[in-house]
Symmetry: C2
Subunit: 379 residues, 2 copies
């Protein structure tokens, strides 16, 4: 039985950045952390062995996707998600609320839950807050998210308010179901509350306060940086964080570019996930200490340099840009795979350096030098 | 300077199977060997690190493909094919004669060579025997094939005879060009002669004898097992091998299933290559000690077993058939990759066991037990 799920080890003296750790049955996660996205129980193109060698300590999977395929029952029968995908470190499952609202066909939201058609075969399903907790309990992830209502940007205040009210009621029901299941469950899990409220500061404040009253293990920030102006994102983030307890982990869902992550860490966020490293990887864009390198670029046709001279991953140690370009040019699967690996490794190295900087009280200095190199044109 | 390119270490007492080794500047290859096919300087879905960990000692690449993309000049400039693809063990390059005849657009064969249109962009190219040797010298593979005329099955005797005459003349010109280049070349390379002659025993015999007179480092068997009846293949193979010197390596191009390879080893063949492990891998068919396992099969939906209980590869050690099926079912690239890896590893383990069996004078026993298991229905 884990008593101290989250612990802050160092607090930056000049910003709200903090260096902490999460403790779960599957292991320790050092924060700030970046979680590679393994939606369907695989981080696209990469094996669990790759994710381990890229130094990730936690990865993310999606309850909605896994519920539809291969089905929760099968994963449970085979010993849970960790065993299924051969990843024995911590896993966070997103409820898939976002996916229900963005991917599913005809959907009908009621107080009870969401009735929707599968985006795969059109079959009808009903997800309720309780059902989602059941799915995530069966999958056996270490950290789980409740079902929420995702309002896309832009949205009217009225709609945002109604969505938020429902999200809060669902959070309460999720917590109740979670408590019940934890009494008999095989795994000790941790449940987060998700702060919604679109771009309305007073709604975000209300959301945070109501969730805090319900006392979750951590707090996620949903529906932010989804297209609204940057200034507004920052204001909303500040309001949200101001209304969350300092001693609980904060998770910015779906963020982001290294620079966005750096900004959020400075504000006091601890956890991140994003499809960017692998999506960019599949499209042939490498993220490096000197910004983006578009591998297909004709300029790299004869380029013997690695993707990133400052990177120690096996791709940068062994393969030239010319070789990687050739792989993309000939539609060889190894291309997307190698660039996805590099990008995944790059994000892990990046958060590792952030943690070291906070420990050494040099976060500000690190931020400045990272930004300077990342924005340089000398690739 | 390597003096003894090929050496036979053990000769099976009950068949023509032999256990030998090839020695090249890039290293030793134990024979009988199976060469994973890396047509475009990558074994599809796999990295060079994977091929190494799957215990392959040599791989195959294709001069025609690499000449078109990324271009010989670029690979040469970047330090040769080994460095380009980060594979520092031996490489064999096929000339691409087969690809010119099967892939290229409009082509015109003359005494001089083949004029053809690229299958990629329609551009015009001329490959002559001398040009092909130049390309392969620039790529820097350890073992190289000359340009030949590939007659597809079925073919008339007249056509086969004319094609063969041309192939022999080209072999002579290739050898001449090869000798010239070896005097100044950076790498010590070994040139094989390719025995053609379609399904006509007397043509095969003539082809072998004429090539032997030209004294190549080894002999390839081309255009066999391309659709003709099995009995005929075996007769042709026997005639061909009977007319080749015992102390030179024999390479059966493009073969094959494990059972076909076993049969050819028994007849005295030393080297093999085939796209089967990776092509089957991409389509979700695993080759195992108990025959084919079609991963997509609904029967494996909840199957916790590995692909092959007798296999020690990381896929079999860590992943269930249910997980692999899920990956194919959700079109995740990791699926083709993991099954391709297993298949590649399986072929290497298979040839390793063949070599041990010949060493221990137990080839016949091994053949019998391998066949029995491979043909069993208990998967």
């Amino acid at each position: 039985m884990i008593k101290s799920f989250f612990k802050i080890k160092n607090q930056c003296l000049k910003s709200n950045a903090r260096r902490g750790r999460l403790k779960t049955e599957a292991g320790i996660v050092n924060t700030p952390c970046f979680m590679p996205v393994g939606t369907q129980a695989t981080v696209k193109t990469l094996s669990s062995e790759d994710i381990l060698s890229a130094k990730a300590e936690i990865l993310l999977a999606n309850a909605y996707h896994l519920y539809l395929r291969p089905g929760t029952r099968i994963i449970k029968k085979l010993g849970g998600l960790h065993k299924f995908m051969n990843w024995h470190k911590p896993i966070l499952t997103d409820s898939g609320g976002y996916q229900v609202f963005s991917l599913a066909g005809l959907k009908k939201v009621s107080d009870e839950g969401v009735r929707f058609q599968s985006h795969i075969d059109g079959s009808y399903h009903m997800l309720t807050p309780e059902k989602v907790i059941e799915i995530e309990s069966d999958l056996g992830a270490d950290i789980i998210m409740p079902l929420d209502v995702c309002a896309h940007y832009p949205v009217s205040r009225d709609y945002a308010e109604v969505s938020l009210e429902r999200t809060t009621v669902w959070a309460k029901r999720s917590k109740k179901e979670f408590k019940k299941r934890q009494k008999t469950g095989k795994y000790q899990q941790f449940l987060f509350g998700i702060v919604q409220g679109a771009t309305f500061p007073e709604l975000r404040k209300k959301a945070a306060q109501e969730l805090v009253n319900l006392d979750f293990d951590g707090y996620s920030i949903g529906g932010l940086m989804v297209g609204e102006p940057t200034k507004l994102s920052h204001d909303i983030l500040k309001t949200t964080l101001d209304n969350l307890p300092k001693d609980k982990p904060r998770y910015f869902m779906g963020l982001g570019t290294p620079l966005d992550i750096l900004e959020a860490i400075k504000s006091g966020v601890d956890m991140f996930d994003c499809v960017m490293p692998t999506r960019y990887g599949r499209n042939g864009t490498a993220l490096t200490s000197r910004g983006k390198v578009v591998v297909r670029n004709g300029a790299y046709k004869e380029e013997n340099k690695s993707l990133d001279k400052n990177c120690g991953c096996f791709v940068c140690k062994n393969y030239s840009r010319a070789y990687l370009r050739h792989l993309f040019n000939t539609s060889e699967i190894l291309g997307p795979r190698l660039v996805s690996y590099h990008n995944t490794y790059f994000y892990q190295e990046f958060t590792l350096k952030v943690r070291q900087a906070i420990e050494n009280n040099q976060f500000e200095k690190f931020e400045k030098s990272f930004k300077k190199a990342y924005n340089s044109k000398n690739r």
